[in-house]
Symmetry: C2
Subunit: 326 residues, 2 copies
Amino acid sequence: MDEFSLIGRYFAGLCEADDSIALGIGDDCAQLRVPPGQDLVVSIDTLVEGTHFLPGSDPGRLASRLLGAAVSDLAAMGAEPAWFTLALTLPEADEGWVAGFASQLGRSARDFGIRLVGGDTTRGPLTLTVQVHGWVPAGRGLHRRGAAAGDLVCVTGTLGDSRGGLECQLHPEKGVDAALMERFFAPQPRLDCGRRIAPYASACIDISDGLLADLGHVLEASGVGARIERRQLPLSPALLAFCGEQQARDWALCGGEDFELCFTVPAAHWPKLQQALAGCGVPVTRIGEILPADAGLQLLDAGAPCALPGTGYNHFVSAGGGADKE
Amino acid sequence: MDEFSLIGRYFAGLCEADDSIALGIGDDCAQLRVPPGQDLVVSIDTLVEGTHFLPGSDPGRLASRLLGAAVSDLAAMGAEPAWFTLALTLPEADEGWVAGFASQLGRSARDFGIRLVGGDTTRGPLTLTVQVHGWVPAGRGLHRRGAAAGDLVCVTGTLGDSRGGLECQLHPEKGVDAALMERFFAPQPRLDCGRRIAPYASACIDISDGLLADLGHVLEASGVGARIERRQLPLSPALLAFCGEQQARDWALCGGEDFELCFTVPAAHWPKLQQALAGCGVPVTRIGEILPADAGLQLLDAGAPCALPGTGYNHFVSAGGGADKE
């Protein structure tokens, strides 16, 4: 057994028993049980050193970011998280690195209620891929398609914080805010919100590329337009203190990797949705409304039309690189 | 939309409709249906440039090798293939490369009866990860555990050919054999064999690290030993012509990536298993038998004990690198 096999075995300890796992780590495949009446939902995500994070990043922070971002796709479907697999490519079999990574991966997995069931450990440039699996009631699930003219556009939490956390790393001389850094490295997938809004929302997406870009995906999939009010974007006190209101609003529109949910809801469902969200602990803010397709995507500032800022979110470090989920 | 998003969209054309796919490429998750009474089986595999294949390798060959190797894990479980996801990290958005890769990926997917349902395309050093999904009757499925003393040890097809194909690339001056190269680049997962043997076999694994290493995994998982007869190893005429009998037998024992099945079967099931395999078109060879654990792994040569060759299979290019499936 070579050194990579030994490293691979490190993760076997993270595989906890569960009724849904007939066979976990250690065979050619994991064997798993989707409950009757549920559809399986799956999503795969990759982080690459130099593209999505700076060389030398702390392995624990990478683990929480990797899994948080991936599980966020389950939240956007209103899904119950179940299992994940990990494909880890490492330049060397560094047990210290793996220990830090696996330790935080285990903590994040427990926080999100998701279990490691398999993986592959290989040698090469640092690349981390995770596939997450969950389930939704058969034939249900929140999709990008489904928004209709007149629906309200809403977001969970606050926007732009992760972009602030990135700025703290790129320009530490301008100041470092721990809360913003935490938003960058430890995204909190809005699983509870997703499940609560699923019965009422008409469409949903998680904000990974930036609000305008991701709302654009909903508009395209649904064949509609939208109007967004810049003054209604939810901003955290930390971000406002860090960069001021104008910059914060731009980052809220275009900063990526907030991993909040952007969803649409028919106006008639709004009261029930608010009831459903009571006590969930995450604010939900109305930021605009869905329009017919020919309206396109319009941005208002205190009711007056204003220009859209550049919507292309380029991932960290390598401008023009980035990632796309097919 | 950046260039990588455009490349990502290239794969959307590979997503064919199917009753089991409620939602394919183009949302936060794919939404999928496991038939009632079936367990889901999943496996994730990575190929890295410079570790698993030479820089500059033909993209079509990489596609067939990537998917063939991954689907082989489904064959080893006796599973029905269903869906796969692809995480592709590319140094640049090279449409020509992607066209060649996607075209062969589509052909291989159709050959294996598996459908692309999602992916992630990122910028970075060339790394290819695929997760395959399939199903087996609930509570069934072929596992590594389950072999018992007295069981026969069998393999499908011929062994060592892929190692011969690797040699053709490393030392082309010694001669290049097209059939061996094909075994290296276009592994044929033994899906049909796996399903036919599943009701009778006691344990199974696919041969990715070499017969001795992979049989070792079965012995460890089952808590048994085994005796293998070197003269009974099935060898192809192409391999015998390429390197002679002694070398061929060593490569059959230790060469990796043949992606044949190694399985064990109670002697009482052997006649029924042979009937079940009739007409499958792939030879199955008895090469030894399972012993109690304290016997360890014994190698015979025409009935006489002989030393085990080094069993560590090091992947291509980077000695000591390689891959391990957890």
